[in-house]
Point group: C2
Chain length 329, copies 2
Amino acid sequence: LVKIAVDAMGGDYAPLAVIQGVNLALSEYDLQVSLVGRKAEIQAAIDATPNFDTSKVDIVDATDVVEMNDSPFESFKKKKNSSIKVGLDLVKQGAAQGFISAGNTGAMMFASTLILGKLPNIDRPAIMTMLPTNTKPVMLLDVGACVDCKPHFLLQFAEMANIYAKEVQHNPNPRIGLLNIGEESSKGNELSQKAFQLLSKSNLNFVGNVEGKDFFSNKADIVVCDGFVGNNMLKFGEGVVGLVTDFLKSEGKSSFLSALGLLLLQHTLKRFRKKFDYSEYGGAPLLGLNGVSIVAHGSSNRVAIKSAINNCLQTIQSNMVEKISQSIK
Amino acid sequence: LVKIAVDAMGGDYAPLAVIQGVNLALSEYDLQVSLVGRKAEIQAAIDATPNFDTSKVDIVDATDVVEMNDSPFESFKKKKNSSIKVGLDLVKQGAAQGFISAGNTGAMMFASTLILGKLPNIDRPAIMTMLPTNTKPVMLLDVGACVDCKPHFLLQFAEMANIYAKEVQHNPNPRIGLLNIGEESSKGNELSQKAFQLLSKSNLNFVGNVEGKDFFSNKADIVVCDGFVGNNMLKFGEGVVGLVTDFLKSEGKSSFLSALGLLLLQHTLKRFRKKFDYSEYGGAPLLGLNGVSIVAHGSSNRVAIKSAINNCLQTIQSNMVEKISQSIK
C-alpha cells in the first residue's frame, strides 16, 4: 500500500482544502496519508470535514509553517520544524513514498533538493507545469527552478519530461519542442541554438523550435526552456487572463445588455474555467530529484489537492525516479 | 515641412492599407510622404483610394519585396532593390527624415542597423512595443533585437525608453521596472541581478523588479528585459488571447443561448478589441539607431499605419535621436 505525506499547512486554503482533498482522494484511490503540520489545526479541519476516513490517515506534528513570501534559504535555515521539511524527511527516511505541498514553490524546490538530493546524472532539477490548451495540455519546463541554464540542462529537462509523459501520461511517443523566437534552427540566443543541436542529435522525438504563440496549436507535447524565460512567460500569461477577466467583470456592471449577455454566457464561461482550470491537472512534479516531491498550485482547492495526490500516486507506481535515473547517463 | 518615407509593400494588407493609411495621415498632419515600392502597384492602390491627395506624395520605385519569412541577412544581401533598403537609403541620404515599414521586423532591424548605423554610445539597438492594459499602456523593450543581453545593455534600453517616454509621450517622470521572477533584488538570473544594481545606481526613476503578472497593474511605465525573454513573452500573450477568442467562437456555435449571449456582448467585445488594439498605439521605434526607423505591426490596417506615421512625426519633431545621443555617454 502506497503511503504519501501531504503538507496540511501549504496553500491559500490550508488546512481545510487540503484535508478535504485528502478525503476525496481516500474515497477514490487505495492509499495511506500522513498529514504533516500543526496537530491541533489539522485535527480541527478533520473535525470540520464530514465522513472523514481516519483509518487511513495519521498526523505528523510540525510546528513551523513556511509562508508564501518566505525566502527559500532563510525558511530552510530558521524554520527547522516546518511541515515542508518534516514531510520531505518522511520521504527521505522511507516512511512515505512521496510528498505534496501547495505551499511556497521556491522553498519546496530548495528543501527538496537539499533533503532528497539530485539524481546522480542530473545537473539541475526542473519544475514542470501543464498548460491547458484547446486540445490537450502541453508540458512546459523549466518554469523557475534553474534560471541560468546551460544547453545540456535543457536536453536533460527534455529527457526527464519524455519519461514522465510516457510513464505517467501514457503517451507512447511524446513530441518535444524547444521554446524559441522563430522556427529555423539558426534562430534564438546562444543557449537555444546550442540546445537545438543537442536535441537534434538525441534519440528524442524532437520536433524543433516552438514559438510562444504556437503553444496552443498542438505542435508539441513537451516544451523545454530556461527557468527564467518559462517563469516570466507563465506569469505574463496569467496577467493576460486576469486582464480579460477584469475587463468582462467591469463591463458586466456597465450596462444591462452586457450583464444579460454575460448571464447567458455563464455556462460557457464555466466551461472555460473548467477547461483551463489548473486543478484538473494536478501538481507539478520536481523532476530530477532522488524522490517524489510534487508542488501543487498555491490556490489549490480540494479538487486540485486530489489531482495532485493522484499524480503523486502515479509517479510512485510507475517508478519514475528510478526510470529517470537509469535512462540519463 | 517633414518628409517621411513609407514602405508601400510592407504588411499583410499592403499596398492598399498603407496607401489608405497615408491618405488618413495626410488629412490630419502636415507632412510629405515618399511611397517606396513597385510603382505600378502603388499607382493602382492610389487609383483605388478615393480623394487621395497626390500633391504631398511622390513615388520612389523599388522593385524587390522582402517577404515576411525571408531571412534578414539573405534578404539584405540578395534583394538589393527592396522597398526596405531603398526607404532607409532615403533617410540615410537626408531625402526623408524617417522611415516606416509594416514588413518583416527582423529584416527592418537588420537593414536599419546596417544602413543608418548605431548611435556612438549605444551597444545594441532595441525594439520597443506598447502593451495595452486596463489603465494606460506599458512600454516593453527589448522584444527581439538583442537576444543575448549584457547588464549594461538593459541600462541603455531603460535610458533610451526614458527619453522616448518624456519626449514623445510627454510623461515627465516615467517609472522604470526590470522584468524579473520576483520582487526582491536578489531574485532572478545573473543578468537581471546585475542589471538591478546598475539601474539602482542610475539617475532613472527605477521602481524595481516587475513580474510578468504585474505588467497590467500599473507598477511601471517602462519595463526592460532581454530580447529573447521579451519576444517569447509577447508571443505567448498573443497565444493566450487567441486561445480565449477561439474558445468563445466555438462556443457561440454550440448553443443558441451562447450565441445570443455573444450577440448581446458584441459592443463589449468591440470595446475590448478597440482597447487592446495595437493599431491605436502606432509603430514600435527601433531605439539606438542614428535615424528614425519605425516598425508597424504586420497586420496593420489603415488606422495602424496612420498611428505609426503620427508616431514617426513626433519622434522626428522631438529630436529624439539627437537627445538619446546626447544623454547616453
